[in-house]
């Protein structure tokens, strides 16, 4: 079996295994952790295969491309799958202590595994309609995870989340239909060939805008992000951590995929629009964040703001900028998931998510304060942590002058730096409110049964953040090669079209 198929089969098998022991929910966590461990091994194997031998592609059912169902991994996709597996494993361990028995009995682990399969499928598919199907696999599982438990806040958040995502799916599907009507194919590599051969590529711009709205809704770019901070703080911490890490980034990945492979015929308009949206996304996200006092709502607004940096890299469309986007993607997934996981521990220590009612956690748990400090400073872009190098790459790319927008890019660089400062400001706000100030009243800590299950994933993700910061050239070199593959999709197209 090639390196691609196990990445999808392992989470699927884990979900089936959980279903088979429906009556023994205590086994679900063990199966999920084991499954995620194997998934991580398969993902690393895929990455090594792509790293050594270039783009890997396989046609399921042996129908030749562009007719068969194609799975394909270039470096960007392989990196994303590895990060997905890391997050899957970390959150699976965290869930053992965080998810109550009721949710477990009603299939938490099953839908967790299925959602990770959907995310992986969306990264690995080589066909735009299959991407829609994988999105649906991911979405329907995420709907269940969001509503499982049926608390009042959850239901209120879920309705916003579900309806907005369904509208986005309908637009995505309509865009697929129109694209098929114009080009007669759905295979991404074949689409790249046919759109390049089109006499008037501007005619595709309307379709490109439909994809931009559909994926933009999922990614949470301006002005389509409002559902995100209205829903991500309502489910249990383990669920919101995996949502915050992975789901919006699937939208960003889909944007990167279609705007580097298919819609490159009218870049002054399409990528110019992305540039403007990136700036507005960064600013509106961070301004929303600084006014919040709920730990998880504050972090949710930061997701929006950080999405802006990734879209900025895509809009600039040079090798450095796209490398920045790829680097930002994997740095951000690790850091953001970690911050959400930490918000769960601080809630147990203080009994609340409200920053105003927290306090004194530095005295009560100095090690937790240090663990928060690492991802928080990384998010703010303080050297030598991973976030500094991610921001550095994006800002440097916008100042290099080889972009399509020599006038606009420096403005965006200035916005990016200012937003970085505001990010740091809101991280210091959490630090002051939750850790530094004296507690305003009696703290009501909840007993934690097996604390190491909560701390182990946090420590591991923080170690990865520091690790990326200590060896940035190693990771940035990979990101540069991934960006080269995105800018020159010849190898991608060749790998897909010759396989059978």
């Amino acid at each position: 079996m090639g390196p691609l198929v196990p990445c999808l089969l392992i989470p699927f098998a884990a979900a089936i295994a959980c279903l088979l022991c429906w009556r023994r929910p205590s086994a679900h966590h063990a199966i999920t952790v084991l499954g995620m461990g194997l998934f991580l091994a398969a993902a690393i194997r895929l990455f090594l295969a792509v790293d050594a031998g270039g783009v890997v592609a396989v046609n399921i059912g042996n129908w030749p491309a562009p007719f068969g169902i194609t799975l394909v991994a270039d470096l960007t996709a392989a990196i994303m799958v590895v990060v997905t597996a890391i997050i899957g494993l970390a959150v699976a361990v965290y869930s053992i202590a965080d998810i109550d028995r009721g949710r477990l009995q009603f299939g938490y682990c099953i839908f967790f595994n299925l959602m990770l399969m959907g995310v992986t499928g969306a990264f690995l598919t080589g066909d735009i309609f299959n991407m829609f199907v994988w999105f649906e696999v991911m979405l329907i599982s995420s709907f269940v995870l969001m509503t499982l438990g049926g608390e009042r806040a959850q239901m209120e958040g879920a309705i916003k989340y579900v309806v907005l995502n369904l509208i986005s799916s309908a637009l995505f599907l309509a865009a697929c239909g129109i694209l098929y009507g114009k080009t007669g194919t759905l295979n991404l590599a074949d689409l790249a060939i046919r759109t390049k051969a089109m006499m008037q590529p501007e005619l595709l711009t309307v379709t490109a805008m439909m994809f931009l709205v559909a994926f933009g809704l999922k990614a949470g770019i301006f002005p389509l992000f409002f559902w995100l901070p209205a829903s991500y703080h309502t489910p249990p911490v383990a669920v919101s951590a995996v949502f915050a890490g992975l789901l919006t980034k699937v939208g960003v990945y889909a944007l990167v995929r279609v705007f580097t492979l298919i819609f490159v015929g009218d870049t002054p308009f399409t990528h110019g629009l992305l540039l403007v949206l990136a700036g507005l996304t960064m600013v509106s996200g961070v301004l929303g964040a600084v006014s919040q006092f709920d730990f998880r709502r504050l972090l949710s607004f930061h997701i929006v703001s950080q999405i802006g940096y990734m879209v900025l890299g895509l809009a600039l469309f040079t090798q450095w900028a796209l490398a920045g986007t790829v680097f930002y993607l994997f740095h951000h997934i690790l850091v953001k998931t970690n911050l959400f996981l930490i918000s769960g521990i601080t809630r147990r220590k203080s009994g609340t998510f409200d920053l105003r009612q927290m306090g004194g956690l530095y005295a009560a748990a100095p090690w937790l304060a240090l663990l928060f400090f690492i991802p928080a400073m990384s998010l703010g872009g303080i050297p030598p942590l991973s976030g500094f190098f991610a921001k550095f790459a994006i800002v440097k790319a916008s100042l290099m002058g080889d972009t399509m927008f020599p006038a606009g890019a420096p403005v965006l660089a200035a916005i990016a730096l200012a937003v970085g400062l505001l990010t740091l400001f809101s991280m210091t706000k959490i630090w002051n409110e939750a850790f530094w100030k004296a507690p305003p009243g009696e703290r009501r800590p909840e007993p934690i049964a097996r604390p190491w299950l909560l701390y182990a994933p946090v420590v591991a993700l923080a170690a990865l953040t520091v690790g990326i910061g200590l060896a940035p050239s190693f990771f940035f070199d990979i990101a540069l090669r991934a960006a080269d593959q995105l800018l020159n999709p010849g190898a991608y197209i060749q790998a897909v079209m010759r396989t059978n």
Partner: protein, 115 residues
Amino acid sequence: MELILAVTIGVLFAAAAYLLLRRSIVKMILGIVVMSQAVNLLILTAGGLTSGAVPFVEAGQTGLSPAAADPLPQALILTAIVISFGVLAFTLAMSLRADQTVGTDDLDAMKGTDE
């Protein structure tokens, strides 16, 4: 025929947008249903309408004749219908649960988590 379908799709999308903007959850779900049907018709129309040429391979031939209808849009629609059916079942169950826990069908009343 394309014109009639194009107008129908437009009317369906408009109706869906109107329903989605209502405050009642039930009407909003009906809006999602109408919207997914509009998208299905859109795929059918965008894929090209061919009348009276079923996509069967004739005896003795190895491929479709060029005049035959394209079967792929219909396959896409079939997949989309199955998915939207599952999603509809979920949203109905969710609205029931929301009605039980929140006690209202009014979306404007669901601001408990927005501070």
